[in-house]
């Protein structure tokens, strides 16, 4: 009973956060000096007739009180009407519909590789503190944390171009449904670059968690009563460090979303990040607004799922 109550409470709090996020995005993009609507309208001022400008003004609620503007935007967004791109004239929902799968795929692979690297090396380091395995793990984490995504990405593109004559721009991106193998080739390198930073952070967390759990009484008791090493590692150490790893993964997901923006630009992947940058450069404000909102919503939802997973992993949180 209390579990369901906790879940409902968590979902409600997530909805409140999402509403707050939408208000912040609204304020940043519409109410700050240099009003983004006017600015973006200004770009195409010569091209539009007065009637069109009036129609756009009406659509974005220019001249209406801010609160009313916000609610009409919220209403339109919730009913699936994300507006129309000021540059390509296509519906924002169509643009996002084609871009979102690319970013989701990229994020999925990056997260998968990152968690594998992080948990694998982290456990390995944590089980051999102070030995060469530990040094190797620490080395990976320092490199992963210190080298920014965009430098690593650029480095990889340059390296692949000069050694293998592979250019990310040479072939247009293909979906996973059309040609899975080519799609995999196109997604794997950007995913690898993104995963290193995530992996490094998870590695540190896992190592610290393993070292902590290893010294707890129950772990020493388990070893003392003769539990096999494999069972000790997986049932006692791994399962107990999982909560820390999960929390870190949730936090890293936010960095991952920021990272996709940069990596899609380097590897010319037609995802949400590239859509965002193109729209920012063109001051295509309806697209910027929706993409930012979707990114933030993704981050909030993932972190809620992480919170809910605690109940699955850790029986202690289930009993009230």
């Amino acid at each position: 009973m209390s579990v369901y109550l906790a879940v409902v409470r968590r979902i409600l709090s997530m909805i409140v956060t999402l509403i707050g996020v939408s208000i912040i995005i609204f304020i940043v993009l519409r109410l700050l000096p240099g009003n983004a609507v006017q600015a973006s309208l200004g770009v195409s001022e010569g091209l539009l007739t007065h009637a069109q400008i009036a129609a756009l003004d009406k659509y974005y609620g220019v001249g209406q009180p801010a609160v009313q503007q916000y609610f009409s935007w919220l209403h339109a967004t919730l009913t699936g009407n994300l507006g129309v791109s000021l540059v390509s004239r296509s519906a924002v929902s169509t643009l996002i519909g084609t871009a979102l799968p690319v970013t989701l795929e990229l994020a999925f692979f990056a997260m998968l590789i990152g968690v594998l690297i992080g948990v694998g090396f982290g456990m390995w380091s944590g089980l051999h503190p102070g030995r060469w395995q530990d040094d190797l793990g620490q080395g990976v984490s320092v490199v992963g944390l210190a080298i920014p995504t965009f430098i690593l990405g650029t480095l990889l593109v340059v390296f692949m171009a000069s050694k293998f004559h592979y250019f990310p721009s040479s072939l247009p991106f293909v979906g996973i449904a059309t040609n899975p193998w080519l799609n995999f080739q196109q997604i794997i390198f950007p995913a690898l670059v993104l995963s290193l930073g995530i992996g490094a952070a998870i590695l540190r967390t896992t190592r610290a968690a393993v070292l902590e759990v290893e010294n707890l009484n129950f772990a020493r008791t388990a070893l003392g009563k003769g539990v096999s090493r494999r069972a000790f590692i997986w049932r006692h150490l791994f399962l107990n460090s999982l909560t820390a790893v999960l929390t870190m993964s949730g936090i890293q997901f936010g960095y991952l979303l920021g990272g996709t923006v940069i990596i899609e630009q380097i590897f010319i992947l037609p995802g949400m990040g590239r859509l965002l940058i193109t729209s920012i450069t063109n001051r295509d404000f309806p697209v910027v607004q929706s993409v930012t909102l979707i990114f933030a919503a993704g981050f909030v939802i993932v972190n809620m799922l992480v919170d809910l997973c605690y109940a699955l992993i850790d029986p202690r949180t289930r009993k009230r």
Binding site: I25, L145, F150, V157, V158, A161, G258, V261, T292, A296
Partner: protein, 302 residues
């Protein structure tokens, strides 16, 4: 535990009471005492001096001066980081870029630090309701990934130095709030603050004379880490073409420009990358050192 030359015999005998060390050596000495802190101080020192030279225009060549005869030259004493396709000196550009980068980083961390610390202190010290409202708002800010938030603000404001600083700083505010709030919560219930309350000290006096001095360690650590992040964020923004406009050199833009050149002239990528990575590592190490100095539990023994 090995005995290194910098630790006094007393430390090793007593197992080091960190508070005594801080009192005895002062902050600088305590940071210098930890291996990471020492490394951080040295790197940050070099980076700061280099950045100031860059800002003051004291570079070997004018950053935007083109020397077509010296295009794409490798490393030499005349060009420490080589030259690009227009014969511009990479080192001079990197110095200027670093200067601008540091300027934006310090401005943005000043913004984030002041707002975030005030928010954290108020949320920790004042009543339940104020605290709940501030923390709720912080959660909402925190929910927007920082780089994306910076992008959105740059879209609205524009790419000038002040605007970039605001864009980068606002994203770090929730982190300062969270980090400052928890020690304030603990301090509020501590004996000396209660005693002050009994003595009838005003809230402001309690806050600024008694509580604030006790969270400076936490703020210092966070400031250093925030600077590392801000340099990275600034470089990312300018890499995406959203940094300060062209005549000013910027590290991220140099990396972006080098991607088509680097297969024939690797130094155009290596120079600015090295500067960015050094700056980020330096401030991270300095943050580690500050943490070691302020919190004995996490101290890594060298």
């Amino acid at each position: 535990m090995s005995i290194d030359a910098t630790s006094s015999p007393l430390d090793t005998v007593l197992g080091v009471d960190q508070e005594l060390v801080v009192r005895h050596r002062g902050w600088v000495g305590a940071v210098w005492h930890s291996r990471n802190g020492r490394l951080g101080m040295i790197i940050v020192g070099v980076i700061l001096v280099a950045g100031i030279f860059g800002l003051a225009g004291l570079t070997p060549y004018a950053p935007d001066a083109q020397y077509p005869n010296a295009a794409l030259k490798g490393l030499s004493w005349a060009h420490l980081m080589g030259t690009d396709q227009y014969g511009r000196d990479v080192f001079s550009n990197a110095l200027q870029g670093l200067g601008v980068s540091l300027e934006i980083a310090f401005l943005s961390v000043l913004i984030a630090g002041v707002i975030g610390t005030l928010g954290g202190i108020v949320a920790g010290f004042l009543g339940k309701w104020t605290s709940a409202v501030i923390m709720r708002f912080t959660d909402m800010l925190f929910a927007i990934p920082t780089v994306l938030f910076a992008l959105a603000i740059v879209t609205a404001l524009g790419p000038s130095i002040l605007d970039s600083s605001i864009a980068i700083g606002v994203g770090w505010v929730p982190i300062f709030v969270r980090v400052v709030r928890s020690p304030v919560l603990a301090l509020r219930e501590s004996d000396f603050v209660r005693a002050g309350r009994v003595l009838g000290y005003s809230r402001l006096r309690l806050l600024f004379r008694h509580i604030l001095p006790n969270v400076t360690g936490v703020i210092a650590v966070q400031t250093s880490l925030a600077l590392a992040w801000a340099i990275l964020a600034e470089a990312s923004l300018s890499f995406l073409g959203l940094g300060p406009p062209p005549p000013t050199a910027s590290l991220g833009e140099m990396v972006a420009d080098s991607s088509s050149l680097a297969s024939v002239a690797w130094w155009t990528l290596a120079g600015p990358s090295l500067v960015i990575v050094l700056a980020v590592i330096g401030f991270n190490f300095l943050g580690d050192g500050l943490r070691d100095a302020s919190d004995p539990r996490t101290r890594t023994r060298s």
